[in-house]
Symmetry: D2
């Protein structure tokens, strides 16, 4: 059986030796290892894929051998639980649903929640529960409360914003801290905010992109996870760019969920560490 | 013998028919044709590659058949003349010099002008005249005047800023209007201004890029010609990004000069039309 | 209303002028035009997007003005009809179904036909009729006959092989001549035939790809329409490559159908002409 | 001071722990570590970047702690010595010379050897010794002997074939075993052998590429190091493809030398392990 051990802590000399030696003592065979030291921030990150039977003794010894601030997690190969939020656009939601159907992502989509009913047939076509929570007549706080309660029932590992066209309240963000992944339809930090394809067209760029990022309280300012781009030309107006961009959005959003589901993703302050 | 006819004017019905029919009447065989109509701006752009012997009668008939604002140019297959400006960095300058040596660009580099002497050996290694015009002790206006006079002597078709790390005065920009091509070391409009790789590192982007653009009086705001990008990771600090970025800068700058030299480039207000 | 005129014929001087002048005479405004001359093969290809009301007189005059071998077609903006063939794998089929659902392709999927029942739920989730025609107990000729009869009932413009893992009989190929588009899971002509990802892994390539092509009677030898690639590493075994490759296959197959649906695709002997 | 330790040996449990623990005991701080286990071949590969002062005792202890077949090397930060072979084409040779001039590669080009005199001015422009060894009137064995003797005088770490258009004798390949890096102008294994761009044009591919690989005795069959590709269209004939391809060849060849110079490259039978 294969497990993934993720470690992050303040950096000091000998960390890799400590971790790998303990694995060896506990008869855990390392089949893949990635580490990164952020020398500026003096932080250590490691992802270790082992075969064997890690015990709770192993984990407690590991924790006590490492610096006090160490965050150690052992992930069994079960699927990562995700609730997806959406509005009306089908492409990102559909992309993830299809990937799950293909068995191409290590995730279980527990539910889709949207502020319009349009995507109900799509979710149900893939046998995923769909909840419509209209924002009509509700304050942002009230709406976020209702949506948040629905999400909380599922106890997901991740909340994926599959083109959820709502600004989130700080309370909502805090409630699902470090769990919310958004897809923004531009190559951040270019074209922050609304209508990025119109901005891109006006500026006459030759490349457009999309960005998946964790959500914090600054709009489009959270730690970036994945970005990708594609060429456009003078012949593409804003509508054409939006159409072209949908494929990139879909790909980038799925890629971010895949990285998260494989435990290859660490938040490092305002940035991420992503092991390939 | 092959010629390239470029046309731009306000759009109206029947322009392609007019131009191509006149070519036919004058026994000019069209071997390649590209056109674009900017429907918002109501502008028409066309690049026509013909074989045959275009006469001055052909050109005057063409001009009189088209709308009054038509800009018609016939380019013979002679090389496009370029003066390159640089400072201390070798990669963009060297990239163009090497491409010329390989005979891979339809350009003739007439001279290199720099505000430091460092790149003299590189220019001279490729037998290109090198002028150092130090900015020490000169006002921006005076320095631009001296550099401008040197350039003007060569009567170039284009002025290429091969990492020329000076802000240009409006007088200089006006003097070589629509002829100055700059390479900026970011994916514009992200990271305008100084130290874009440091900005990129601080933001934690996963892709960096470079942008070639025409220069106007707004810093890094001129019409974009070519952009390209490359992947970076959390393991790349600002210095590593700068090193990785140099290849993209070189490629993008050479590509912009190539497009200009093949008369595939039109300025359309704040944007460009680029035929591939 | 917008129409697309496609023309191909043997090349001669003045063809663009003839076609565009006739458009002008008939009050058809050209909003976009692409042409290509294959100088070796002496063939002319043109795609002309016009607004206005083309009459049958226009078409007959056009035909009589052009060389005898001219194939002229006028496409109204109706959707291109497609029947998809599949086996067991969901990704290419699902990709196209999802794109249709998003309204991102100018196609109407009339039916899905497969030699196994596995993909029935996927087709039906998108409200597309599904037919299972098992090959068990049938000769290739018999099976192709049954599948072909089913297809013929729909009178599709295109037959898309969405990972249809069967070799087609010459009779089947002839029956739907120039209409069958296949997706092959390698960067052709590398790794023709079975198990391309295993071949790629054995050879230790650093890039894998996919190829959409028209089908003729030589296995994987038909005219190539679209290709795309992605990076792999020494850490990817054949199974990992296959998983990574599915995204490329899906993208490339959708792109080929999109080009066909926008009438940007011409067969030119053993090659294609593709207007972007 | 920073050193790079490279290790390869047959795989067994606990190797990472052994190596990193010994580093720790010897006060070597690991700033970057990459490892790979080829599970099929049961081979272990590791590249470890350390700061500190590795002693000969460290190395002998390391060697004795590891399996008998272990190849352990400690690389000081001195430049990797390279002799380049060329024929008449300037782009790959010039690309590497320019990169060295920019100080962008950790290499020292000791000499250029060519079978024609054409590239003498280019090498000398960058102050690199040039030797012409004409193949006229010599058997392949004789020519390879003369070129090999010249190379041997320089005792290079690598021999780079910068478009050296000669087939090498088995003796020559054996003499510089595992040191010869070639650039082939196709996306191998497609279009092995002569005139790959003509083959690519005939096949009508939409993407062309280049491949850097170690040389063994099978033509174009050595372990692949780097590959890259670029889009082409129906409008590009073989000559245009060759021109477009030169940029990819240059980039891929430089990238392969860079990886080698940073000790990120391991030969694993018929394949390579490449740490990014």
């Amino acid at each position: 059986m294969s497990y993934i051990l993720t470690t992050q802590c303040s950096d000091e000399i000998g960390l890799i030796a400590k971790i790998t030696s303990l694995c060896h003592e506990h008869n855990l065979n390392i089949v893949r290892n990635n580490e990164f030291v952020d020398r500026e921030g003096k932080r250590f990150f490691m992802r270790t894929e082992v075969t064997g039977s890690p015990t709770s003794l192993f984990l407690s010894q590991l924790q006590s051998n490492l610096p006090d601030d160490a965050q150690v997690k052992l992930h069994s190969p079960t699927k990562v639980k995700v609730v997806l939020l959406a509005t009306k656009e089908a492409h990102c939601l559909g992309g993830v649903l299809l990937k799950q159907y293909e068995n191409a992502l290590n995730i279980e989509i527990q539910a889709v929640i949207a502020n319009y009913p349009d995507l109900k047939p799509l979710a149900e076509a893939f046998n995923v529960p769909f909840h419509c929570v209209s924002h009509e007549g509700l304050s942002r706080t009230e709406h976020d409360q209702q949506v948040g309660d629905l999400i909380a029932n599922y106890q997901p590992d991740l909340v994926g914003l599959a083109k959820y066209m709502r600004i989130l309240s700080p309370e909502f963000v805090a409630r699902f801290k470090d769990k919310i992944i958004n897809i923004h339809h531009s190559f951040l930090p270019a074209f922050i905010g609304a209508k990025p394809y119109h901005q891109a067209f006006e500026r006459g760029v030759k490349i457009i992109g999309a960005t998946a990022h964790f959500v914090n309280n600054e709009l489009d300012e959270g730690p970036i996870i994945v970005q990708d781009v594609t060429q456009v030309t003078h012949a593409n107006n804003a509508e054409a760019m939006a159409k072209i961009g949908k494929d990139i959005e879909k790909t980038v959003f799925c890629k971010a969920l895949q990285l998260a589901s494989e435990h290859k993703l660490f938040i490092n302050g305002t940035k991420t560490v992503v092991f390939k």
